[in-house]
Structure formats: structure tokens, C-alpha cells
Point group: C2
Chain length 450, copies 2
């Protein structure tokens, strides 16, 4: 468990001044927050990932192969022909009422009972998170996030100059005792904690799930410390078992803002997500969203609404699950087969990601260019921490490539790692990674998610 | 000309605490900016406008009747069937390269020569304005805006706790001398001005256009005071003459951020807008946009791109112009025919709006409920000022209703005004509006746009 709470990140005060100073005539005009706006590694890797010879285990692009495109094409055509005057027009800032009702139906699969009036449709759940941060965070406020956490959330928090304090996880997700300690340390420092940002199911990037027996405890700790819970759940319906975990929101409607998305269960290119919030918070979110985009696209909302109404969307989700499960199996078996001793990884029960820890001495960020030369890409672990940790970790995505490509990618990655370890063995380094003390098997907790 | 610069608005420090205190358990948790998040009158009026018996002269909804829905339906179907795997997938944060090239073509009609790499596609130009404000404005920074200005821009500036200082207009748009005085007064106060937000063409809500001979002067004044110019131009191609005004950006590429939109020239429900910015600023805007929505919807961008590529979009814009010109004529002739003495209004050469000034003693906000009872709606002028002015003004939109409905709406509005004036004459008030000194004809400058 790590406790960087003592030194909250200030990445938004660093920034790209060195280059900016010489090149950018507008530099003196930017807001303070702009100093923290730097290209994320995930984004930089989109370019790499697009080169066909590279096996990208980097991006989180969903696999859309199972979508019934011809049926969708007909649907969308009917929508434009029959309802074009409405769906091509401005809509309400809160989102289409019919879609908000359907969203409540979708959430009921996770035990959530909600009223459509408390749902706000957003441009992907990324915008929902941006709006929540806009409504709650002043510069210097503390946001708690798992260690590691979603890179896109860290950049949103940075944009609002919130300070991220990480809370440790193990293979059963967020560690309640770690949460208690962090909150205790912060209140001793008199710091203002606005909310806990958590991804309970099939975590991005850690690939772990919050154990159900921990959920009530996490909610209780946050309630006692008067800290709001922001539950980000884009993968909740993509579990590889048949059972779906009950959302935190299902047992605590008054202190949880729930974020959902159709990006992984239908189509990410429509950018339709949502927030479910306590009523008073919902009112603020709608006004914040109105000042951000006026209203979400009526057209993409109508496409999603029609899909939910006319297609067997539960069957569609089952197909997605099967495709991702097959890919998860391909990746895990390839990791077991090819990776050198001293590597450990999580074994996800759903979602898109495996979190890999490499032997001591290997720096995943420094190794990335060599990996790309060997035609395999990943996201270095440091991208998922606001405090510079994660140098021995990487995120591997199995969502997009075929099982064969995944296996080939892992083979290439293993070869790159072997090369790194040879160099370490030859020229030394901090101990022989092969015999690093305390290493356990692939199914044990990884120290950086623990 | 008004100079509220001496008392910049602090509406974001006021807010809805009174009700919030009693009802909202989360009230103590909100960011300071949330105090300024209050329902805008424009939004509140969407509900009213939707009732069929009410003639809404309030909303700015474009008239989509001229769109070729059947052809669009076929197009969109082909798009999904042939390119679904791409257009339903995540895209780049900056927007589709093909669309950014087409956007440069569109902007060339206003004399702009730009590179697609300096264009950022956003979820409507509202999001572009939000991103510009995010990149440039710290709390307390000053943003200059015309008096009156677009209500949606004022709420965005408030969300970032920027302080709006208004600059006077007359029937030829922003008054350069007023700009000089405001900038002088503010620099004397040592205030930091980040940018001038201006709508040069067919202003929302004032309905006036910045005279071409003033454009170089406005740019020169801003350059001399090291103030960026944010040029918001959603209506530029909707002029009722044949000639299109050269954009401010066309003569000053280095100190202007240009905002464009397809909401008025194609379809607002797709929410596709853009920003064209100096290169270094563009880089910041892309990173800001990535933290806000990850990427704009690939699907809606592809729909716009296909429309521009396969349809006679210039011909489509001509049809829109004709429809809006016919409605402008209907409104102006109805105003001349029905409105009581002492009313003055602007006569727009393009766009959607007429700015009406009523006789002294009439408060347009107080009158609105009576107007709605008489089945006509408008937006009270106060919504377009950050400093509480505008009580004698209202915005009338002619974009959406039929010419007959517009005439009926103006008839109803005239009756409501007559009723107000009767009350004033009977029970007194500040002077007889009919013989108010200094009133001029309908074509003279209105004091609140001058």
C-alpha cells in the first residue's frame, strides 16, 4: 500500500514551460491550469497503435466487430427520415427523456433504483466526470483515487487544479484500511477532501474488482468522513462470470454520484454517457453541462435510444462479454507461457485490462521505445499515477486485437523484457531480477496495486 | 455606451444559497463556481416554447425544414454500413482530419486561409468557447464582451469565475472608442484582461454587424493592449445580402481564436463546431478537450463530412438564408405595424435576432409572465448582461416560427406592451413613454446597444 498523501501531486504547476517559453507567444496569457496540459502517453500512443505492423496492447478501444451494422444502418436511416426535424435539432441540456428512462432500466441490472429525472446524459462519461469535478472542486481541493487510477480522470482533475491523493488497492480492489489511513492523515493536515473517485468493477488499469464484502465498508468510511463517492462504472456489465456486481449507488443513493457509459456496451464513437446524482447535485450538473456544450447531441442519443428499444441489447452485451473473455484468456495464457520470471500480473474477471509488474530494475517508460521498435505497444504504469510511481508497471489491453495478435504481442513483449534483463544481468542493476526476494506467482497481489 | 467596467460582475459569488441552504445536503461541498450556476432564462423558456399555443420568439433553434432528410437518411445508412467500424469507434481528440480540411474550405468563404492542423473540432462551438476559457482564464481574470452579449458565453465565463466587463455597441457593432476607454480604465486599475469575446456578424442578441471599416481598428486596439480576440461567428454565412464579411481572423491569424459551427448552416442536433487557433494555443485546446470529452463523436463528424462532400452545401446555405430573410422581413414589418410609440429595434442584415427596446418604465423581465399568458415568449434583455442592465430590452428570434406565426406573435406582444403602458399612464411611472425625450425612429441606435 502506498501513501503519497503526504506529498499530494502538483503536476499542474509543472508543465511545458521550457519549450513553451521559447516557442509560444501566448505563454504569458494562459491560466495556471494550462501549465498541466501535457500530451498524455495514451494519446501519444494512438498514433503508434494505428500502424498496422505494431501490435497495440495500449489503447482501450472496444471491439465493435460484433455490432449488427446493416441493421443499425437501416435503423439510423429510418430515424433521420422520420424524426430528422427533431433529432437534428437542439435538445434539452439534461438529455432525451426517453433515453434517460432506458438508462434507468440499464442501471437496474446492477441493483440501482433511480428516477430518470436524476440522470444527466453527457458526451461520454468523461464529460460526466468533468462536470462533477467542475461542480465540486476548487483549486487545491483533494480528490482521492485508487493507486493506480484511470489516466483520463487524472487529467480532468489536473484541469481543475484538484490534487490527487492515491489510495492503495490489492487484488480485491480498494483497501478499506488504506482509505481510513489516508483520510485520517489528510484530516490531520486539515486538507479538504471533495470526493473518492473509484472504479469498483474490472478496474482501469489494474484489472481488479472491489470485493462485495468491502463495498459497504468503503461507503461507510466515506460517509463518516463526509466525503462524496464518485463511482465510475463503464465496465460493470462486462464481467466474465454470469453474475453482475451490485453498484455502490444501489445501497447509497444520497452520497454516490454514479457514472455510466454506452462506449463499451454499444458504440464509443457515439460518445453517450451519463451521470446519476442526488437531486440537488443533478441540478448543478445540468447547469454545468449547459455552459459546457449547451446540450448533448440529440442525434447520437436518439441512435442509442432506438438501439435499446429495437435490438436485443442484453444479447449484444453477452456477445461482447464472450469476445473479451476469449481475449482475456489469450492474454493470460500467453503471459504465463512467455514472460520471464519475476513478472506478475492481475487476472481480470471482466473489462479490458491486465496490470503487469516487471522485475526490479526495468523502467517501463524507458523501455517503451524499444518495445515499439519490436512492434508492440503498451501504456507505461507512470501514466496512471499522479505522483510519479508506476515505473515498474504497465497496462496491457486485450480488448481490441484478435487472440492471435494478442499472443504475438505478448511474445514480442517477452523478448523485449528478456533483452532488458540481459542488460541488467550483464551491467548489474539493483539485484538479479530473477531472484528478487518476495516475488510470488502470477495470481498473488502485485505490490503496486496493493 | 455603458461602462460597467468600474464594477465588474460577480454573479458567480451570489448564487442560489437561500434555497440551497435548506434543501441541499451537499451545499457545503460545492466549488465556489457552483454558486453562480443558476437556471438561465433561455433554458427555462425551452419548456414554454414547446407548448404549441405559445408563439416562441425566445429560442434560437434553427429552421431545419429545408434539409433533404431522405437523402441524408440514405447517406447516413451508407456511412454506418460501410464505415461503421470506424465511425462508431473512438477518434482523435482534435477531430477527423478529413472534416478539418473541409472546415478550412468553409472558412475560406470568409477570407480565412488556415491549415487543418490548427483546427480543433468540438461539441458545438459552445464547447470551443468553454475550452478557450479553460485554457486562458484564472478566477478574477477579466473577459471583455459586447453589451449585450450571448447568454451562453456569459454562463461559460461565470463557470470559470472570469469577470465580464461589457463594451458598448451601436448599430455598426462594437464601438472602438468604447473599447479603448474600457481597456484604459482596466489597465489603470491594474486588471488582467485575457481576451475580447466578440460576435462581429449578425450579433446575438443585438442583431447588428461590426462595420468593416471598424474591424482593423478593433484588432489594432486589442493587439496594442496585448489582448487576445475570440471571434465567435456562427451566423457569418447567413447574411441576407450576397456579400460575406471578411472574418477578423482573415487579417490577424496570430492574435485571433476563431469559433465556428455547423449548428446554423447544417444541423444543430449534431453538435459539431470548431476552433481555429494559433498553433501553440491549438495544442492547449486539444489537451483541454481531451480532458473534457476524450474526443468529439466520430459519428456526427462523419455525418457532417459526408454532407459537405456529397451535397451542394453552398446551395443549402442559400436556402437557409432565404428562409431567414423572409422571417426577418415578417418580423420587422410586424414590429413597424403593431408596436406602440417609444419602441425601438435593430434591423438585422443576417442571423436570427432582433433587439427590441421598450419605453421607459416597462420591465421586460417582470412583463414576461404576462406575455406568456398572452401566448407569446421572448428572452428578457437582462439575460444578456453580466451587470444587471437590459431591463428595457428583449431579444426576439425570427429563426424558427413561420412568417405567419411571427406576425401573430408580434401582434400579441404589442397588445401586452399596450397593456403595460396603459397601467403606467394610469398609475404613473417615470414619464409618459409616448413622449419620452430623445426617442428616435426604429432605425436609429438603441441606447443599450450604443
Amino acid at each position: 500500500m502506498n501513501l503519497p498523501g503526504a506529498q499530494p501531486t502538483r503536476q499542474h504547476h509543472a508543465g511545458d514551460a521550457p519549450t513553451g517559453r521559447s516557442l509560444d507567444p501566448h505563454r504569458q496569457r494562459y491560466a495556471q491550469r494550462a501549465a498541466g496540459m501535457r500530451a498524455s502517453e495514451v494519446r501519444a500512443l494512438f498514433a503508434v497503435a494505428s500502424r498496422p505492423e505494431v501490435v497495440s496492447l495500449a489503447g482501450g478501444m472496444p471491439n465493435l466487430a460484433a455490432l449488427p451494422l446493416d441493421a443499425l444502418a437501416e435503423d439510423v436511416a429510418r430515424l433521420v427520415a422520420a424524426e430528422g426535424q427533431t433529432v437534428l435539432q437542439y435538445g434539452s441540456a439534461q438529455g432525451l427523456p426517453a433515453l434517460r428512462e432506458q438508462i434507468c432500466e440499464v442501471m437496474s441490472l446492477e441493483g440501482i433504483s433511480a428516477h430518470p429525472d436524476d440522470v444527466v446524459v453527457t458526451v461520454g462519461s468523461q464529460m460526466a466526470l468533468d462536470m462533477v469535478t467542475r461542480v465540486f472542486c476548487d483549486p487545491g481541493d483533494v480528490v482521492l483515487a485508487e493507486a493506480p487510477s484511470y489516466v483520463g480522470a487524472l487529467s480532468t482533475f489536473s484541469a481543475y487544479q484538484a490534487e490527487v491523493v492515491h489510495v492503495g488497492m490489492d487484488d480485491e480492489g480498494l483497501v478499506p484500511e488504506a482509505l481510513r489511513q489516508v483520510l485520517g492523515a489528510l484530516s490531520a493536515q486539515g486538507r479538504r477532501v471533495k470526493f473518492l473517485y473509484t472504479i469498483p468493477n474490472f478496474h482501469n488499469p489494474a484489472g481488479v474488482t472491489l470485493a462485495e464484502r468491502r463495498r459497504a465498508e468503503v461507503l461507510e468510511i466515506c460517509a463518516r468522513h463526509d466525503v462524496l463517492v464518485v463511482e465510475d462504472n463503464p465496465y460493470g456489465l462486462l464481467g466474465f462470470g454470469d453474475q453482475t456486481h451490485p453498484a455502490l449507488r444501489s445501497t447509497e443513493p444520497d452520497n454516490v454520484v454514479y457514472l455510466g457509459s454506452f462506449s463499451k456496451t454499444f458504440a464509443s464513437g457515439l460518445r453517450v454517457g451519463w451521470a446519476l446524482a442526488p437531486h440537488a447535485v443533478r441540478e448543478k450538473l445540468v447547469l454545468a453541462a449547459e455552459s459546457a456544450t449547451l446540450c448533448p447531441p440529440a442525434f447520437t442519443q436518439a441512435v442509442v435510444s432506438r438501439f435499446l428499444a429495437r435490438h436485443d441489447w442484453r444479447g449484444q452485451v453477452k456477445q461482447f462479454r464472450a469476445a473479451y473473455r476469449e481475449r482475456r484468456d489469450a492474454m493470460v495464457s500467453a503471459l504465463e507461457q512467455h514472460l520471464p520470471a519475476g513478472c506478475r500480473w492481475t487476472r481480470p474477471d471482466g473489462g479490458f485490462y491486465v496490470w503487469l509488474t516487471v522485475p526490479e530494475g526495468v523502467d517501463t517508460r524507458a523501455m517503451l521505445p524499444r518495445a515499439v521498435t519490436e512492434r508492440v505497444a503498451y501504456v507505461p504504469g507512470a501514466a496512471f499515477y499522479a505522483d510519479g510511481l508506476g515505473s515498474r508497471q504497465m497496462r496491457l489491453s486485450y480488448c481490441y486485437p484478435t487472440p492471435e495478435r494478442i499472443q504475438e504481442g505478448v511474445r514480442r513483449l517477452a523478448a523485449v523484457l528478456e533483452g532488458e534483463l540481459d542488460v541488467l544481468r550483464t551491467f548489474g542493476g539493483r539485484g538479479s531480477p530473477g531472484r528478487h526476494p518476495g516475488l510470488a506467482g502470477p495470481h498473488s497481489p502485485s505490490p503496486d496495486t496493493a
